[in-house]
């Protein structure tokens, strides 16, 4: 009988109750998405998650940045991946993996920002003050604006997603807005963010001043010269920002968060920025697949053109030049999103376009003075604009501006010999058009 009892216990063991318990296994590394942002701490950590997406290797870490400079005319490719060569050649195919991962990383950032924008305002936690709430939401709005700005200038109009994705059926199958509509959302988000954010100075996180920086760049891209000038002036007149001297003081000797910086992305030994690996030579543990080409090496080393900016490059043990903006070990190089130098050059260009030649020239010469080269003497608007264009090429030799600059000024045919206007926008990644029928490919791809 006793045996029978024990045999019965086998039955018990496998009874539904214990079985269901046995089959309920919960993860330890992740949490359920049903309760994510519900108090002060979770609101703050969720916002850091948005910055983390912004700093990802596929976005401001390496990949998205590379689109900006590889497609320019300063960088050569020494590696073996032909998909990189497509940028150098300015013949990017829709199956290029760089554009695919950048697109994905940007929308991932947007979704995280949307979560903060949608959920933080609904949190009721006495510790989460209205001011802090506003700040967190404002920062998310800024990051969303930056994300759409990057999408618009790279691909043109894109699907505008402003709500977090809670289940797989949401936020897909949405057709592309126009480029103007996309820029309009950027502006709207910046206008929303501005009053929510404090007017403090934080070089690693968005503040009201960071909003001004993106606004000045946005208005420049939109050729709204007066506004570009207005927002640039707000920063230039702020004593927290100045052109540090010498030129390399903003990045050399492990510098970070200098007064040059309006917004830079923070990396540490635990949150590394692998960017250096592409630039540094082998003796420094890199691959030097991306290297400054002969033209930019000549310009940077020309004491009349490069001046102090020659510190951007260095020579390895085989006498080859390599880019030295990203060099730290461990790989903690910041990504410089807005430097005050750019703000000066934005204002110079905005002023030049408003025929304020002297004022524009003054801004330009502030940059040249810092680099230790002679002041420019352009007297006409066109001459000044050309000088600014060339100045930007050298000032941002290894930063992701050249391609976007030449495209927005409509000079790709003259400068890059790109006559096919379709090439000025990159193709929507084929991985996206294959699975979302609402996404129409850019013409010519």
């Amino acid at each position: 009988m006793r045996t029978l009892k024990y045999i019965l216990s086998i039955g018990l063991l496998t009874s539904t109750v214990s079985c269901n318990k046995f089959l309920d296994v919960q993860p330890l590394e992740s949490i359920s998405d049903t309760q994510t942002i519900f108090d002060k701490t979770s609101a703050e950590t969720a916002l850091r998650g948005v910055y983390s997406a912004l700093s990802n290797g596929s976005y401001y870490g390496t990949t998205f940045q590379s689109i900006g400079y590889l497609t320019g005319d300063n960088i050569q490719w020494t590696g073996s991946q032909s998909q990189v060569q497509e940028f150098i050649n300015k013949k990017v195919n829709a199956d290029n993996s760089t554009i695919g991962s950048a697109w994905t990383a940007i929308y991932r950032t947007i979704n995280r920002a949307n979560n903060v924008i949608a959920k933080v305002p609904t949190v009721t936690d006495p510790l989460l003050t209205d001011a802090l709430k506003n700040q967190l939401v404002g920062e998310a709005y800024f990051i969303r604006a930056l994300s759409y700005f990057d999408l618009a200038r790279t691909w043109g109009g894109v699907p505008l997603i402003t709500k977090p994705t809670a289940n797989p059926t949401e936020n897909s199958g949405i057709s592309r807005s126009s480029q103007a509509e996309t820029y309009a959302l950027v502006l709207k988000d910046l206008e929303t963010a501005e009053p929510l954010l404090p007017a403090t100075t934080d070089r690693y996180r968005a503040t009201r001043k960071t909003v001004w920086a993106l606004r000045s760049r946005l208005h420049l891209y939109l050729k709204e010269w007066a506004k570009a000038e207005e927002y640039a002036s707000k920063l230039i007149t702020d004593t927290n920002y100045r052109l540090v001297k010498p030129y390399n003081a903003f990045f050399a000797n492990d510098a970070r968060g200098t007064q040059e910086s309006v917004f830079e992305i923070f990396y540490s030994a635990n949150e590394t920025n692998t960017h250096r690996g592409q630039w540094q030579p082998q003796t420094n543990g890199g691959t030097r697949q991306w290297a400054p080409n002969d033209a930019i090496v000549a310009l940077l080393n020309d004491p009349k053109v490069g001046g102090g900016r020659s510190t951007l490059i260095a020579k390895d043990n085989q006498n080859r030049w390599y880019g030295n903006l990203y060099y730290r070990t461990p790989a903690t190089d910041p990504t410089f999103v807005f430097r005050i130098a750019e703000i000066y050059l934005i204002r110079a260009e905005a002023r030049a376009n408003q025929e304020k030649i002297t004022d524009g020239l003054a801004d330009l010469n502030a940059i040249r003075d810092r680099a230790g080269i002679a002041a420019a003497t352009a007297t006409t608007k066109d001459a000044l604009l050309l000088t600014i264009e060339n100045e930007r090429r050298v000032e941002f030799a290894l930063e992701p501006h050249r391609w976007f600059d030449i495209v927005r000024t409509g000079r790709a045919a003259q400068v890059f010999n790109v006559t096919d206007a379709n090439r000025l926008l990159l193709p929507i990644p084929v991985g996206e058009t294959l699975i979302d029928k609402a996404l129409v490919q850019n013409p010519g791809y």
Binding site: R2, T3, Y6, I10, L12, L13, T14, N20, K21, F22, L23, D24, V25, P27, E29, S30, S32, D33, S42, E44, T45, A46, R48, G49, A53, G79, S80, S82, Q85, N89, N93, A94, D95, W103, N111, N114, P164, T165, A166, P168, N171, S172, Y204, R205, F266, S268, A269, E271, Q282, N284, T287, Q289, N317, T329, P330, N417, P429, V430, L439, Y445
Partner: protein, 1013 residues
Amino acid sequence: MKKKLLVQFLLAILLIPSVIIAQNADATINSTLSGRVLDEKTNEPLIGASVQIKGTTHGVITDAEGKFYFKTGQKLPYTLIVNYIGYELKEVLATTSSISISLQTNAKQLSEIVVVGYGTQERKNLIGSITKVNPLEVNAIPVGSIDAQLQGKVSGVQISSPTGVPGETVNVRVRGATSINADNDPLYVVDGVFINSNSLQTIGTGGKATSPIADLNPADIQSIEVLKDAEATALYGSRGANGVILITTKRGNFEQAPKVNFNVSYGQAKAIKLWELTTGPEHAQLVNEWWINTGKDTPSLNRTFANRPFRPVSEGGRGLPEEQQTYDRLSEAFRTATLQSYDISLVGGTKTTKYYIGGGFNSQEAILKPITFDRASFKVNLDQKINDRVQIGVSNSFSRTYRNQARAGDGPQGGLLQAALHTPTYLSPTENGVLVGRAGFDNLTLLLNNYDVNSTSLRYIGNLYAEAELLPNLKLRSSWGADYNNYNESEYWNTFLLLGAQGGLATSSISQFTSLLNEQTLTYRQKIGKKHSLGVVVGNTLQSDVLTRTYAEGRGFANNSFKIISSAATTTSTQSWSKSNLASFFAKADYGFDGKYLVNFSIRADGSSRFGSDRKWGYFPAVGAAWRLKQESFLKDVGLISDLKLRASYGIVGNQNGIGNFAAQGLWTGGAPYQGSPGIAPQQLANPDLKWERTNQFNVGLDASLFNSKVSFEINYYTKYTRDGLLQLALPSTTGFANYWSNAAEISNKGFELNINTINYERAGLKWTTSFNVAQNINKIEKLENPLRYGSRDLILQQQGTPLYSFWVYKQLSVNPETGNVVYEDVNKDGQITVADRQIVGSIWPKFFGGLTNNVSYKGFELSAFLAFQYGNKIYNHNKFFGEGGGARDAARVIFASNNARWQKPGDITDVPRPDGVNVNNYRDGGSRWLEDGSFLRLRSLNLVYNFPKAIANKLKADALKLYVNGTNLFLLTKYTGLDPESSASSDQNAQGIDLGTPPQPRSFQAGLSLTF
């Protein structure tokens, strides 16, 4: 609660024997009987034959001299039933106390005992489709793991070895592939333990992964059964969708004298061929051509004849092409590898105990330096009879597998073949005494001298069982099994290497996989009257798998003598934990009538912790029937036909392996920090409806044996249709997610299999047998909402209407003889070549594949030749894509000799375009020029054995002595221009068939000796 029940249950199992022992009262002895069982032809004693007194449960086993002895309450005369594998069952009336019984050999195929799910069966009664392999036939093939050795041996099972590195994963596909994102690997069951077959490797070696199956020592294996159709796999329910490979290890026999076997072998292996490369001058010539051509296409580049790279040194160049040297790095990287293997075993048994103890050491070098594979293993199997009705036993295998690893495949840093396939024209290994590399690739000599990546796998696979006959014919078995794997990896990159250039880099990763298994089965088998036989099995299984991992990394060491992470300047670490549980109940009933008609029905219910709360349980039924036509009166007297059987089965099996343990849940991760403070972020979308992938399988087969069993064959036709296929359904990035787990795919497989075994000649001691198998599988993705891209350069596209693993390429039609430019097919006729012009051209699936084995034996000699073949599959020669870069990769790569055939002037007819790196169209990623026919026929193994005559062996005080020599891959017929048509860069199941940076399967020669005493 659960724990308490488990304890109670364990007590129950332990108590059952005592109850039964109590029932077993002493009986009066009425007679004794001694006897001997012999082979009818040879008069050799048959060891381990079972002798049973008819109508009782009293049975004994013959000893080493074939003798047996009864002491029984039965009175003479009585009938004995004598059973021995490979011989006809015999009933003998014993009248006196001493008897000699001769057994007649049976046609092998029919009486063969086959291990099936939760039991054994004679082949003649099989309904399902099961192939049995004797591991002795393939044991000599030096590939590290038993699954790799099986290639070509099992019809319908496609096994390809994507690498020549011993102990790395192989692809095993039983009747095609049923899933995109769930596993397509079969279930491996070792002595009743479901073992892990997914690699625990975390170190990047360019896509390859080590095989956990390589932890098993093939020398310990008694038999391997491959269960293919639904009837055969149904009792494994959710685990059986991709077939089941049952591995039974060696055990002793009761009343067997101790027997020691010692086996040693030594050999060498070498690559059959290596890549043909350009010489330094040829390389330089191509680079100059490329330079000048790109200058013509894009004048702004200012590339002209005058400033070509290979111009006289006096003009600032690297010297004229003809002045260039050729540095051969390939032969520095490859070697003649040494193979050695030692195995010793002891097997035997007493009246109540039987045992097998085995120890082995196997050491293989890969042909690519510095990769090695060493396995030491220890095995103990014990069975103990407590009384006539109760038996307990254990199976234990413990192994330590040590590997020196290297990144052979993709990726620049630490890449061996990348370093070996480097620009030949400059940088001799020790130019100016300084060992330097180029453009992202390590210097080969430094790499070979300083490579320090290794892993140690400690593996225990064990099982403890108790089996009790509760009533006559009713047997209860309970078993507790464990598969524990401690997988310890470490890397050290010193300052001579790219990865360690900044003060050195060390990593350590320790993975622990623990699988615990508990299982009960209750088996009832009864003959009712003369004609009816009935069997029932019911049982349950609980399984719990936990995988934990700790990873640490250190950078910045004082110098290269410090190698341990604690001495690094910067250290980081991570940890992970994951668990899944599975609960199952199963039942099977079979019924046979008159030995003619066999039917069975089975069902299994599986509950998995991975699915949504209402979707955890899946129910998997199967039915099967067989008709032994030979037993019918109309065939009984047809001499031509020795046996004939028709079989059919239909069933549903499930799959959940390979998906994330928490795949159904919506998750946020904590791993999104910023500024040194924690951050959280969305990780995965929920799918509460996520459920079992289900495959409906139908099989019909015919087994026939003709001409007195000299010719036997088996034909199977099957269809498999998978619904609710588990898939990481791609989501547009606008959602912020890449994909989510769903049941979204439907995939079909159908095919046939043919096995033929013949005895071609058997006279005067000479015997020649042949065994041939061939199979075809047609695979198709029946439903898939969005196409999925896999592999480097999206070379693989999974798309509705085409087979899995189809190649997605730009189809090269020709090279324009006038311009030298490639003409691609403009699929959408828009006048330009864009991604819209990529199309599917072929797949990795062969039209047919199989193997052919011939065995010839004469006196003590045995010769066997084993050919494996595959026809009609495609392979992407990605090495050649890089090697045929047309001069554009001067700084990074050697150019293959095939690029010498490039177009040079108008009128040239060739398929290799003009060197031209700016118009990337000519050397475009994903061009079809590198998609090749992967058909092959290889002599996989040639084996010659000499068994010394007993007299000689006895002089050495041994029972048997044999010497053997073995050669593998002695020839390989293929049109493929790469090194090996089975090479595949990645162990990702969706990125097969792309050959990049993979050492080929070597040719090897081995000699060995086996001694039994």
